[in-house]
Symmetry: C2
Subunit: 549 residues, 2 copies
């Protein structure tokens, strides 16, 4: 059987655009004599449509799109993803379904059984779980069709999964000759390996090849990396879709292919994920131009490089906003960077503005506290950048990294300004790694920027009265507490960091909850980012926090 996976980049909610992409793909596939064309999960509306699914008119429109796709499918079989209403199913009356179409006829639907509702997933908010299982006769082959999470319980020995049912196992009796999975699985540092294992497990259980078609593209916080897979009956990876771009992957189940080795460069993927996150946010919201605040540090340099690559250097403008305290090496770093990147750049001193604020406030306060002054400076920069943004209709990108966001070493309405938290899920240690990786490809981040404060001495805002803490220590605690859900005791034991330090850092994480609530949406690249996937109460005082970990 000749199968094509169309690893598609839908625009969430743009049904016309997405449907047209389906129709075009069907025409192309017909010309290429494809028998079965596979689209990703919820391909008609894009994943995740969130509360758009609560609009009856949106659901109506989606069913009209399906009709169009069915009509266009003469002479070919197609599986597409959509949300559909069904009064047979309780509670939500809405299903996350795959429509199975053959030769201009809708054969039926396979509904998603396992609805993820943890971390960034909220499918139970919208969908009821499916109950029925089918196998579909398509051009003489018995094809099983399932959706994304439906394949994961079968691999519960390698991943943590506790659903009471296992759709793959229940498919065994239907003896499918090929399993198709429509997927929307967000990128996560190092996740691709797990996906392959899950595909292999399904191939093992069903003794048939697995066609795993993934969504690609970024939708605000979530980045979908693509990397669709075709795994043979004997669990070999035979085809791998490209990462971070749309792709058509052709499969002939009758032809013996040479197995591939799954090799990937985690830094390359992280870099491409962030680039795609920027690119699609701009593309999908209709913006072209970006502003980046340049400080001469690694964080802003990294964001500038990513922006220039994602949007084109002609669409990125850098702003260097020094104060009297800014070191001349920072300026040098900025100048070299913008030259290397070929982006436009402006410089503007903030001191005259800060001074006039201070003067204006003289009568209302005896002496401005250092913290007030530091925050004010940050907000003057924020206001300047936002004025440039308003004036040029360019979006400001935010430069804060995950380590700073975690501890609250950032200023609301100051350095927290911006439309998108480009590296807000990238820890400081990863920022350095990524900068070195970039420079190995093309030396564009100046050495003085990377070396300015030697890595092992980089401190978090000692000027705020914080005890200087090595960011490597911070990142270890962050990894343990946020990403690996370890307790303070466990972290102290595993990292040999003093328990009191771990505790103090974890407290800081909680105390910054209300700040983060107003932060720019972070591009999610880790297993747990500070975004929609992490929901902590805001009304926690220091006293209470002792009891949580």
């Amino acid at each position: 059987m000749k199968i094509e996976m169309y690893q598609m980049n839908p625009v969430i909610g743009n049904l016309k655009y997405n449907t047209q992409k389906h129709l075009d793909a069907i025409e192309r596939a017909k010309k290429d004599h494809i028998e079965l064309l596979v689209f990703p999960e919820l391909s008609i509306c894009g994943y995740a449509p969130e509360d758009l699914l609560l609009h009856p008119s949106f659901l109506d429109a989606m069913s009209v799109c399906l009709d169009q796709i069915v009509k266009a499918s003469k002479g070919i079989a197609v599986t597409v993803g959509l949300a559909r209403r069904s009064s047979r199913y309780g509670e939500k009356g809405l299903l996350n379904s795959a429509a199975i179409i053959c030769d201009g006829r809708l054969l039926g639907f396979q509904d998603k059984w396992l609805l993820p509702h943890y971390d960034v997933f909220s499918e139970r908010r919208y969908f009821s779980p499916g109950h029925d299982m089918h196998v579909w006769e398509i051009f003489g082959k018995r094809v099983g069709v399932i959706i994304c999470e439906d394949m994961w319980q079968n691999a519960s020995d390698i991943i943590k999964s506790t659903y009471p049912r296992d759709p793959v196992r229940e498919l065994v009796d239907y003896r499918p000759e090929v399993l198709v999975n429509l997927t929307a699985s967000p990128y996560q540092y190092m996740k691709i390996d797990t996906r392959l294992k899950v595909c292999q497990k399904a191939a093992e259980t069903l003794k048939c090849p697995v066609v795993y078609c993934c969504q690609v593209g970024a939708n605000s916080e979530l980045i979908f990396d693509g990397y669709s897979m075709y795994v043979s009956k004997d669990q070999k990876l035979l085809k791998l879709g490209k990462g971070f771009v749309e792709d058509r992957i052709f499969i002939d189940t009758e032809v013996a292919e040479r197995p591939l080795n799954l090799t990937f460069d985690p830094m390359h993927d992280l870099y491409e994920a962030l680039k795609l996150g920027i690119k699609d946010y701009f593309h999908k919201t209709g913006f072209k131009k970006a502003l980046v605040s340049l400080s001469g540090g690694v964080d802003s340099a990294l964001v500038a490089v990513l922006a220039a690559e994602a949007l084109g250097k002609e669409n990125v403008t850098g702003y260097f906003l020094p104060s009297k305290k800014t070191h001349s090496s920072q300026k040098k770093g900025v100048e070299k960077l913008v030259k290397n990147l070929g982006i436009q750049y402006f410089e503007l001193e903030i001191d005259p503005i800060v001074d006039v604020y201070k003067k204006a406030m003289e009568n209302t306060m005896h002496e401005m506290k250092p913290k007030t002054l530091e925050s004010l400076k940050s907000r003057v920069r924020g206001a300047l950048l936002m004025a440039f943004s308003n004036q040029s209709e360019a979006l400001l990108l935010n430069n804060l990294n995950k380590s700073e966001m975690a501890l609250g070493f950032c200023t609301l309405y100051g350095d927290m300004c911006g439309a998108l938290g480009v590296i807000a899920d990238v820890k400081k240690s990863q920022v350095y790694e990524l900068c070195e990786w970039i420079n190995r490809r093309y030396e564009c981040i100046p050495r003085e920027t990377i070396d300015r404060t030697p890595t092992h001495e980089e401190r978090y805002h000692p000027k705020h009265g914080e005890e200087g803490i090595d960011y490597l220590v911070v990142d270890k605690v962050l990894t343990g507490y946020i990403e690996e859900s370890k307790t303070v005791e466990q972290i102290a034991k595993d990292t040999h960091i003093e328990k009191s330090i771990v505790e103090a850092l974890v407290k800081k994480i909680y105390m910054a909850e209300s700040k983060r609530r107003q932060s720019a949406p972070p591009l999610r690249v880790s297993v747990k980012s500070f975004g929609i996937g992490r929901r902590k109460p805001l009304t926690l005082s220091t006293k209470q926090i002792d009891e949580i970990y």
Copy 2:
């Protein structure tokens, strides 16, 4: 049977504090010869604990608290709410339970069957639904115990509810002599009436009295109003807890009580809800003092009144930050208001600061666009207010109303600054209503503030090039689209507002999504606020929006 409902205000996550409240309440109840003491839903951890429930150590600690409460319950029966692990239950392995304790012994648990996961509720993220039903022998009475939502499916003829099971109906065979419901039901304008009907329906189905014990208190966005109820077998309201404060409600099932009429003043409740929202946010996060930006308009006046009442006038400072364009009547309004409220007040002109920004930016832009300038002014005010906030360790309250938040008539990092969106779920028309209501009690909001721009002429930022739209029109569209989930067509038909205007306003709502994403948490008082209960994709462009409604 002598029953006490303890309408308790827990602090989310503060297990020690909450447990002590349980222990104190048990001691008091024993002295008062109470046989059964009822606490609200999740009383040990507070509702809603959100992702704290994902910490195993937090769950462990909760079970230790339960042990303490069991031990303290010699000679009395108690029902408390908590989250508990149970390996018997699939997927989440965690249950939202009521512990039934009698005379120092834990009789068992009744688990919540119906887990709300819509709007602001995400219980499926944490809990598996319960399956078992019991009736409990307590001092010779057969007592049925259920949790909150478990009672709502039974009233599906009066409210929209589509759960496949109905715990109340399934309790019938157990012939309870009294039904106890542990509840955490957030305040919503005019909701109390519905709650009574739901209680009455359960009393009718079970032919027994209903003891409906509610949580009270505010937890960032959600405000719990209390108003616990006792409804007789023949569906009469016999007892009603106080609104917006902790309360002990005493019931003697053997004594014939005079039925009450449920009368309530919606404006009083709205006012009290907002006050409690402020008070508890400060109390629970450990802050004492608030700043309010005063403009001489109704919105800021309302917030100042609420803050002064919630926190005490000595804890509220007003700031009037006029520009050259500010009208003298605004200043007069502010002066009268602060005098009436007796709060401290500072005035500071923003023009010198705005001018120095303009000068600094001269070299980088030909002419500042009006929109850039307007936003800059707003951000100068924001930076000043935040500097005062940093300096005095007072939280800034945000003054934006729901109509402005809906249409995006607000400036990120400018008038959107603040820790709490006090009236962000109150429409402009309700702001006026509330001001008039306040003045009827005590004339504190100056007439010139209320009348400054006559109600029917109030326009939304015509200076931004927006066509002047009457806020009454805006509010009707807002009510229809956001709160009543109507389509554009329906709204046009129902309100006689031109369809093109409805459409233009709905588009504006979507275009402001990314701004709202960074807004202060709004105090939720309507059926649908712009907060955690409304999740729209950020990557929607104007083109797409046409297809959604």
